[in-house]
């Protein structure tokens, strides 16, 4: 027995190593288990949740754009896509389904069968058969649904601009986000999202877009969850993912989307249509502003385009043509994105400023011999009336658009006062209208000239009286947009208050800070502008007589912005021979002071040559329509209740 014990002891020592190995292995495993399951449990739990949870965005519907009277400018229509899920269809029916679809939708059946073959590994993938099917196709598919197992119709909202060209440049359009934008707005926009590109769609993107919702789905390691919609466009989770795993939505975690707000515009759509019609076959712009509030009633720009081109499928050629930036650019909103020398329209501003500053008064006269010289220089500035206007007061100078009178006034005022008042009214700077792509225009001053000629000799940087003379009649480097001129006009007729033009009807204009021009000043200016349109007493009507509307007091001012020097024009024998692109731009600003609402109009016809003949008649039509015809039409409209098709 003792021998046996010693041998046992001998083995016991050897066994100690093996026991040690076993115990240490178990200890190592438990320690490692502890680090993973207890110490780092939170980390791994988070990772497991990230694996599992598939947050699916529910895209918010984009808000509509409507006018104050309820006309829809932009809304969403249901666009139906046909999808096929091979897994939901017994394989022996594939051929039948493909052939039925071929008959209904004119899609080759072999193509469908090819697609089914491609998605063999993931039989529950939704294969898009056709996008944006017509309503009749949709109905036919629903009718035949009993012999189309696995065929579904899903519905997405599709942007639509019912009025087409009308106000196209104001509304703008939407487009799919680019890769750069996806990086820029990471977390806000996702592939396939639409983003406003121009106009209201872009400016009010944040309001129109709405806030996306989320649904939470537990996802398998393989296979992608998919979404479909019912026929009303409500998003549904497809019960099986692409590999056929059954899925359920965690409904309590669902975050419904908040649809984008509808945007109401101040536009008067009838007036807008009229303005656009008036400009047909011409290049130019018409802006109609409510003088007291700054609400933009019409903003036409010609030529224009139909934003539907950008949201409808199969219009690639037209889209390309638009984006090629051909002249004239149809996408440019000429009311805010183009700048023109204001020409004689600037005289309205100059007269008001000079009267306000006391440089001249109602009785101040300047003699107009048809030309103007500054003492000591040889240069001669001409008046458009070759033989002069004789001795004129400010009233006549405005009515007949005497250049020499304003050369004198401009010199007396000096460039500094001119630029100070320009700033007060908002000429030569952005008006802040709620549209993208506005240009500031330019009112030259000393600082600007020094800066622009910084690389030139000192004498070129200096501001000369001659520059002031040029500026006095809105020529030289001076440039304004039609909208700015409309604002100038509105300031004259609304009692001298700065206005802030806007398209959003909810916009509350800031309180008028100060009266830029006193009533006395404005009465004088308005009298001159009234004389421009209609005769007062003995005095004959001025350059804008074609704008006269019976029964309404219209004040106005014509303008012809030279783009070539007068010498250039002299090469041609008569006006008709001057090539179109060399003709002056025709301006007309008009205002109505004895009706409510007071409106200020600015009309620009590019290369219209004479404001009096090309632009003033348009003002007449607009005013006549707005105060005489439209109220009648409105009565008719109210009688005819609009059909209440429920918008998508």
């Amino acid at each position: 027995m003792s021998e046996n014990n010693t041998s046992k002891n001998k083995f016991f020592y050897r066994f100690i190593l093996v026991i040690f190995i076993v115990v240490s292995s178990i200890t190592i495993l438990i320690f490692r288990l502890w680090t993973i399951q207890v110490r780092d449990a939170e980390l791994y739990r988070e990772k497991a949740e990230n694996n599992r949870i598939w947050p699916q965005r529910i895209r918010a519907d984009r808000g509509k754009i409507i006018t104050r009277d309820g006309t829809i400018l932009a809304d969403n229509r249901p666009s139906a896509d046909v999808v096929f899920v091979p897994g939901d269809c017994p394989s022996e029916h594939y051929k039948n389904v493909a052939e039925t679809i071929e008959n209904l939708l004119n899609i080759p059946s072999y193509w469908i069968l090819e697609q089914i073959e491609n998605f063999k590994a993931e039989p529950f993938t939704q294969i898009t058969i056709k996008k944006d099917i017509s309503r009749s196709d949709w109905i036919r598919i629903e009718e035949n649904s009993f012999q189309l197992p696995g065929i579904y119709v899903t519905v997405q909202p599709q942007r639509r601009y019912p009025l087409g060209n009308t106000a196209g440049q104001i509304i703008g359009y939407i487009n799919e986000t680019t890769r750069d934008e996806l990086i820029l707005y990471e977390g806000k926009y996702f592939p396939g999202d639409f983003i406003g590109r121009t106009g209201i769609e872009r400016y009010y993107e944040n309001i129109l877009k709405g806030i996306d919702g989320y649904m939470t789905v537990t996802k398998y390691a393989s296979g992608r969850p998919q979404l479909r919609t019912d026929r009303y466009g409500n998003l549904l989770l497809v019960r099986k993912d692409t590999r056929g795993h059954l899925l359920t939505e965690e409904t309590e975690q669902r975050q419904p989307p908040i649809p984008g707000k509808d945007l109401v515009l101040t536009l008067d759509i009838q007036l807008q249509e009229l303005c656009e019609n008036l400009l047909t076959s011409q290049q130019g712009s018409i802006v109609v502003v409510e003088a007291d509030t700054g609400a933009v009633l019409a903003m036409a720009s010609s030529p224009n385009y139909d934003p539907n081109i950008f949201v409808t499928k199969g219009k690639d050629a037209e889209r390309l043509e638009l984006l090629q930036n051909k002249q004239p650019n149809r996408m440019t909103n000429r009311a805010i994105s183009e700048q023109y020398p204001p020409g004689s329209i600037f005289k309205v501003f100059l007269a008001a400023t000079a009267l306000e500053k006391g440089v001249i008064n109602s009785k101040t006269t300047f003699s107009c011999p048809g030309f103007f010289k500054i003492g000591g220089t040889g240069r001669e500035w001409k008046c458009w009336q070759k033989y002069g206007h004789g001795s004129v007061t400010v009233r006549e100078a405005l009515a007949y658009s005497c250049d020499v009178f304003f050369y004198n006034v401009g010199l007396k005022l000096g460039v500094d006062t001119i630029s100070e008042y320009c700033h007060k009214i908002g000429l030569g700077e952005k008006t802040g209208i709620d549209l993208p792509g506005e240009v500031p225009g330019l009112i030259p001053d000393r600082v600007w000239k020094a800066k622009i000629n910084a690389h030139k000799p000192v004498w070129e940087q200096k501001w000369y009286p001659g520059d002031t003379v040029n500026l006095s009649i809105g020529q030289g480097s001076c440039a304004t947009t039609p909208l700015q001129n409309a604002i100038l006009m509105a300031t004259i007729i609304n009692g001298g208050h700065r206005i802030y033009p806007h398209l959003n009807a909810d916009f509350v204009p800031p309180r008028p800070e100060e009266q830029i021009f006193s009533k006395k000043t404005l009465d004088l200016v308005m009298e001159g502008m009234k004389l421009c349109v209609e005769p007062i007493g003995e005095a004959r009507a001025g350059t804008g007589k074609l704008a006269k509307v019976d029964g309404i007091t219209v004040i106005g001012k014509t303008g012809s912005a030279q783009i070539m020097s007068l010498e250039h024009h002299k090469k041609y024998k008569s006006e008709e021979e001057i090539p179109w692109e060399m003709k002056d731009h025709a301006w007309f600003v008009a205002g109505v002071i004895d009706k409510t609402p007071k409106i200020a109009i600015c009309i620009l016809v590019e290369h219209g040559h004479h404001g009096s003949s090309a632009a003033a008649p348009l003002a007449q039509k607009i005013i006549h329509f707005f105060y005489n015809e439209k109220p009648k039409k409105d009565v008719q409209l109210i009688a005819k209740e609009p059909t209440g098709e429920k918008n998508y």
Partner: protein
């Protein structure tokens, strides 16, 4: 001298166990050797295995669970049968079994069906045999036979080295399948059995050090590789591994290199275990498994499934049960009456230990993925039977009756 006289002058030694005096090769009375504690631990593990396999089966498909349960009831009679056999007969037949297993390994190399790129099967009608699994037991028997045969000669260097040739042949053959994990499992079996057999300590230590140096060398070599080079078929000259195996070793050192392949498996397995937390997600509530993020969740990564659903306490308890199981085996080895019994039990214990440790370590991202099953929990019928046969062999060894909780 008459036989009676002889009996009087030389009385027979007192047998510890009466059964041993029996000349029957198969005797049902040897069933009393079944150790109740080891049997209970085994039943606990098997029950955990069933519960876990039930959880691993999803979508109303319980075929794996049914097969897993059935193999136990097939295995149980085999266990009893092996217990009844005189273990000296088994040891005596070890050279034949060894030769047969070599033959099978060669056969499987040429006619085997490859599954998942590493394991090889011999299809025999409806049954598929994986010879490399049962080979582990045969190696234990063969080494036992060899050590008993040479006795004290083990202390001589050339007999010592011959051991490595005996275990080296199957290692190389399994390695060529290629089944890295199973091939490596023979190495610790050999080393521990040499140790128990009573080799010289310095021989043993030198061998272990040489092995560690070799492993370090492999690490340096693998370190110089990149995933692109491995995919292109490049490998160290002394390490003729398939790209996917080399990739597994590589991703062990650099898990981020192959997040979709082996790295993906360990990564997801770690997430699975870790997300279980202290209390677990509940029976059949493991999201990682249910949503199929955990690969091989019913075979190699079954521990992750258990850990996810049952949490830290129960997982640690499972590991401790495995530990108690191994320690009980060693206790039985210690009290075995003969050297050959000690050797058999120790060898089989090391098979268990190797599989338990490597498998759980892999699921926790401590070792590269090699594809070793977890005893009694993993689905895999060849290995399950191997485990049951191993336990049968442990029971068939005669023991002294003077140990703790002896039945």
């Amino acid at each position: 001298m008459s036989s009676i006289e002889q009996y009087i002058h030389h009385p027979p030694e007192i047998q510890f166990e009466i059964e041993d005096s029996s000349i029957h090769i198969i005797n049902w009375r040897r069933l009393v050797r079944i150790d109740p504690i080891l049997f209970l631990l085994m039943l606990v593990l098997i029950a955990i295995g069933w519960i876990n396999m039930y959880s691993a089966n999803q979508n109303e498909d319980y075929s794996y669970f049914v097969k897993h349960v059935l193999i136990f009831f097939i295995g149980l009679p085999i266990l009893f049968f092996i217990t009844m056999i005189d273990y000296r007969i088994i040891i005596a037949s070890a050279p034949f079994l060894y030769a047969l297993s070599i033959l099978l390994l060669v056969t499987v190399l040429f006619f085997g069906v490859q599954a998942k790129g590493s394991e090889r099967w011999i299809p025999l009608g409806p049954v598929r045999i994986q010879p490399s699994e049962i080979n582990k037991i045969i190696i234990v028997l063969m080494l036992t036979w060899y050590f008993v045969k040479i006795g004290e000669n083990i202390k001589k260097i050339h007999w010592y080295i011959l051991t490595f040739i005996i275990s080296g042949i199957p290692i190389i053959l399994i390695f060529m399948q290629p089944n890295l994990g199973t091939a490596m499992s023979i190495v610790p079996i050999t080393m521990i059995m040499l140790w128990i057999a009573g080799c010289r300590i310095w021989h043993w230590i030198v061998t272990v050090l040489a092995g560690l140096i070799l492993m370090g060398f492999i690490f340096v070599e693998v370190n110089s590789l990149t995933p692109e080079k491995i995919q292109a078929g490049e490998h160290p000259d002394f390490l003729p591994l398939k790209p996917h195996q080399l990739m597994r070793i590589y991703t062990f050192f650099y898990p981020e290199a192959d997040i979709q392949g082996g790295g993906w498996q360990t990564y997801q397995s770690r997430i699975t275990i870790g997300s279980g937390g202290i209390y677990g997600k509940g029976f059949r509530q493991g999201t990682q498994t249910r949503l199929k993020y955990l690969p091989e969740h019913h075979t190699d990564f079954i521990f992750s499934l258990f850990a996810e659903e049952h949490g830290f306490y129960k997982s640690a308890l499972l590991i401790i049960i495995y530990g108690l199981f191994l320690l009980r085996c060693l206790q039985l080895a210690l009290y075995a009456t003969e050297l050959q019994g000690k050797l058999i039990i120790t060898g089989i214990t090391i098979i268990f230990l190797f599989h338990i440790f490597i498998n759980i370590a892999i699921t926790m991202g401590m070792l590269p993925v090699t594809g070793l099953p977890l005893p009694f929990l993993s689905y895999g019928r060849s290995f399950y039977l191997t485990c049951i046969i191993g336990i049968g062999l442990i029971y068939s060894v005669p023991r002294e009756k003077s140990y703790l909780f002896s039945g």
